[in-house]
């Protein structure tokens, strides 16, 4: 394949990193690592490399997000795949001298598993990476996101060339249907069917829109894909445009993602310069260009109709979806809206075939496109596990594998209690269901959802009522307020949850809460309201006894709800070390060196600092 060879480019524009080096230092430039100074480390590396005269042998590449964000800043030394973590500027001179000059990797900077065994040098042998399978994130950490050459060198835009030169739009649609790819934004609607409906819908022009308005707290897969591999999204969009017969694309991206925005802008400009966007792409008479639309940061604008309203310049409020946006979308014209991750999955499906893709995952989609979940899904694994970060796993992997093998188990050796999937409006899944295979339908069956892929692990110090209250509180702030059940219902749910947490709830409030949550779920106008009660309903389903303890016994079993707990010190465990006394902001702790401490309940504000600082586990919460 040739990529517009007639496009003359000055020699120096071609990335110098593509060949000729014996070692590549792939330093992460995702938001988390940039925040922990990876650009400073880059300077330090380059300085040291130059000092040792290795500048012609070793290249430093700033890559997209590596995924292992908790260990940042991280760096992978290629081609040996040596993984370094928690780098600081101080480490660099030693590291360069030892590894780059003398060829001796530095174990002190490598990943050590929680069990305390020896350091693991190779990235692919670290538990966090071992069970992952990368499709959407296939170029993760392997290229500089700001270089189109490197993307092309990794088979980039080959899928677009293939559809334009070898396939008809109908064939592309058929391929997508056969692949069984379902929307990664949360709804799980079969992508191929959506493209087909949009292709057949009357009305010109048609639009291709990419939803990059990722708003779930703690979820950042879309940001990471755009930051790390923006061209894969553009290529996916171009293929979608060809399939549905559109020439105009939009990316709706939230304003809070400055780095993603900057890289996307660069990617679009580069693709235009390479004639991969614009008029007459691959000289096949196909025109397609992409514009960026920045969202102002409303969670509800991730909902398709609200997103389109916002793009049209109206308030970002959803409308009833009895008439679908593929037929009447942006400016009332047929519009195909997919999520970032969905588009990123498209090029490999085209290149490697629907059969290959359908071979990964659960169920059977050969007859019913809803019959299974195919491919992989990116999750942002956060909460009380050792290894937090972004993981891409095949559909059908169990929650246990994600939490314990990839996540490395619970922190501080605490007991696993539940995992919340699907973002703020997802549900909580208890320990009994840890062996649940993760796919669209299984998660929905147990009262949660895939959502956009947030995964928050909780341990026995998390109170489920408090968790539900936290998410509802978030959703109240993000509800647009258009329809009654969501606006008033969530406010009332919050009021009841507050009563329960404060110990002022009356008998019967659990039943009322359940009734109300069901109405909000069934009667709300859009999916935000429709899924908002999930945290309440799923915690009620699996942890009802915890609610009952709050209401009937006025007790918070997890020791979280401040109105229902008291702090005291276990005289048997206290060594009289004074640490808690020194840290108490209220001077509520009495005691002397080597004298058992006591807490004055009247002064105590239940902030929990004493428990956190006590090295002997002597602070009791009841």
């Amino acid at each position: 394949m040739s990529v517009n060879t007639d496009t003359a480019r000055p020699e120096e524009q071609i990335s110098p990193r593509v060949g000729g080096y014996r070692m590549h230092l792939m330093l992460c430039a995702g938001t988390a690592c940039v925040a922990s100074n990876s650009y400073r480390i880059k300077e330090a590396l380059e300085r040291e490399i130059k000092k040792h005269g290795l500048a012609n042998e070793i290249a430093v590449v700033m890559t997209g997000c590596n995924g292992f964000c908790a260990q940042g800043p991280v760096m992978v030394v290629q081609p040996d795949e040596i993984f370094y973590q928690h780098l600081t500027e101080k480490d660099i001179p030693h590291l360069v001298e030892e590894h780059m000059l003398k060829g001796r990797p530095v174990p002190a900077l490598m990943y050590t598993p929680p069990a305390g065994k020896a350091a693991i040098p190779k990235m692919s042998e670290i538990g966090f990476f071992k069970k992952q399978r990368l499709l959407a994130l296939r170029n993760r950490g392997l290229l500089d996101p700001e270089s189109i050459d490197e993307y092309i060198a990794r088979d980039g835009y080959r899928a677009l060339a293939k559809v334009l030169t070898e396939m008809t739009p109908e064939q592309v649609v058929q391929e997508m249907i056969a692949s069984g790819l379902r929307g990664r934004g949360g709804g799980g609607f079969p992508t191929g069917i959506k493209w087909k409906t949009c292709r057949e819908a009357p009305g010109e022009p048609k639009f291709v829109v990419c939803n990059a308005d990722e708003g779930d707290p703690g979820a950042y897969m879309d940001r990471s894909i755009i930051e790390g591999d923006p061209h894969s999204v553009l290529e996916g969009m171009a293929i979608a445009a060809y399939a549905i017969g559109s020439s105009r694309g939009y990316v709706y991206i939230r304003h809070e993602y400055p780095l993603a925005l900057q890289r996307l802008e660069k990617a679009i400009a580069d693709a235009r310069a390479f004639c991969l966007l614009g008029k007459n792409i691959f000289e096949r008479g196909f025109d397609f260009d992409v514009k960026i639309h920045r969202g102002a940061g409303a969670f509800v604008c991730g909902e398709s109709t609200a997103l389109m309203a916002s793009m049209e310049g109206r308030p970002g409020e959803p409308r009833a979806k009895y008439i679908h946006t593929v037929e009447h979308g942006l400016w009332d014209l047929p519009t195909n809206l997919n999520n970032v991750e969905t588009y990123a999955n498209v090029p490999p499906i085209i290149l490697r075939g629907a059969k290959w893709f359908a071979g990964i995952g659960t169920g059977d989609v050969s007859e019913n496109p809803w019959g299974g979940s195919k491919g992989t899904k990116v999750f942002s694994l956060v909460g009380k596990v050792h290894n937090t970060g972004l993981v891409e796993v095949p559909m059908g992997i169990t929650l246990r594998e994600i939490v314990f093998d990839i996540g490395g188990g619970m922190m501080k050796g605490r007991k696993f209690k539940a995992v919340q999937t699907g973002g703020p409006s997802g549900g909580v899944i208890p320990e009994e269901l840890l062996d649940l295979p993760v796919d669209f339908d299984q998660l929905t069956r147990v009262g949660s959802m895939m959502g956009s892929g947030g995964m928050i692990v909780m341990d026995d110090t998390d109170c489920m009522v408090d968790i539900a209250r936290y998410f509802i509180d978030f959703l109240i702030g993000e509800s647009c307020g258009k329809c009654l059940p969501c606006r008033e219902g969530l406010t009332q749910i919050n009021a009841i949850l507050n009563d329960i947490c404060n110990g002022t709830a009356l008998e019967g409030s659990i039943e009322l809460l359940e009734e109300l949550a069901n109405t909000v779920k069934e009667c709300s106008l859009c999916a935000l309201g429709g899924s908002a009660p999930n945290p309440v309903l799923s915690t009620l389903r699996y942890f009802r006894s915890e609610y009952e303890a709050h209401v009937k016994e006025k007790r918070c079993p997890a020791g979280v709800c401040k109105a229902l707990i008291t702090y005291s010190i276990d005289p048997a465990k206290c060594t009289g070390c004074l640490v808690c006394k020194r840290n108490c902001p209220q001077d509520a702790i009495a005691g002397d060196k080597k004298v058992v401490h006591t807490i004055d309940a009247d002064k105590c504000i239940k902030c929990g600092i004493c428990r956190d600082v006590c090295a002997f586990d002597a602070v009791i919460v009841r």
Binding site: V300, E478, S479, C480, P485, R487, Q492, C523
Partner: protein
Amino acid sequence: MKIDGREAKAEHRAPLLGAIRSLGIHVPTLCHLDGLEPYGVCRMCVVEVKRGKRTRLVTSCNFPSEEGLEVFTDTERVRQHRKIMAELLLARCPNVPYVQELARSVGVEKSRFRMVEASDCVMCGLCVRVCDQIVGASALSFIDRGNQRVVGTPWYVDDGACIACGACSYVCPTGAMHMEEQTTERWRRELAADQRICRYARMGLVSYKICPNDFRCSECDVDQRLFEEHGTHPVLAVAPGQRSKPRPVGPFLVVEDRCYSRSHAWVKMTGGHARIGIDDFALQLLGPVEQVTVHSRKDAAVKTGDAAVTVVARGRRMTLRFPVAGTVAGLNETVLADPAMLAQDCYDRGWILRIRPTDFYTQSRLLIGRDDVASWIAEQTQKLAQALGVEVARGLEPGFGAKIADKDFARLGALFLEDKPTPTMPTPMAPRTPPAPQTPPPPRTI
């Protein structure tokens, strides 16, 4: 279609509610008003629909009818949800008789929920939507979101868009919308005697009228007469805002919510600004537009008849002249960058510039008004067909402009696209009788 076991008929894709009510079945609604687009926010009108094996809960005010659909309006599930929602409403508006009555109709006397903050507004959005869709003023909006949401002028700014018609307070079911004298007070203060345009003239209900009553509409016999004639708020019966959709007149589209100059520039007044653009007639005659050049900068003072914009299509030029005098307030950069979009939408997104006019209402009397535009375009179409020597039906199909030879175009351009001001002052007129809308007032029972 079956509703509660009874056969029912409705137009394909018409909202279910009409068919349900035509059977005499009671469905409570709050945010529904005939003549407005369904909004579907009060959720009181939920019903169960069954298609094939799948049963689901939908709002009947906006769910499209469809053959073979089974509808159940009074199941246990429906009743339960309506009750909870009535309780939610009651917790928000405990003192509003309308809400109390609505709650009683679904069997709720008292709410089990805590009253958060008593309010009179049920957030049905009737006021906002009437102002936008029926009045066409778009002076009201929702502000903020979630449970902080309130109704007000956008950003709480009084931008002069309100025409003091009072339709919002007329349709408000709970009496939460009060008319304040703010706008009329300002008019009294600021407007000279000859600028005091009657509010019905601003709505387009009467052609041109100066208010002799100091804007005390309740004392005005024109106001009284219009109310009596229509049996409802006159603006609801006439619905000037619904003229904002393009409608075909012969082969061309016109929009009847604005004025036109004789050289086919349109001008539309919204909130103190007049937007100016080119109409479909001129656009079709020109053919595909390649370039749009604006001759004045922002903040420049312009007079009526000054060259405003030059539109170039395949080398042919047309100069659009300012239909009204004023100060240039802004340009539509989207159109200037992508003139091809004019072909898709020359009336709404395809505006070219906007100005702050000096005394729009007096100036607009020299233009072709909204009531006359259809007949004017029809007449122009006939003339054009004659000049081209073709029939309207066959010679003026889409894309005809591109087929006209250059020398013919020069002649046609002089005939149709140049301003030949023939101002005739419209005589101030008594209210016109609109085409007898003898409809009873919209049912506001629940």
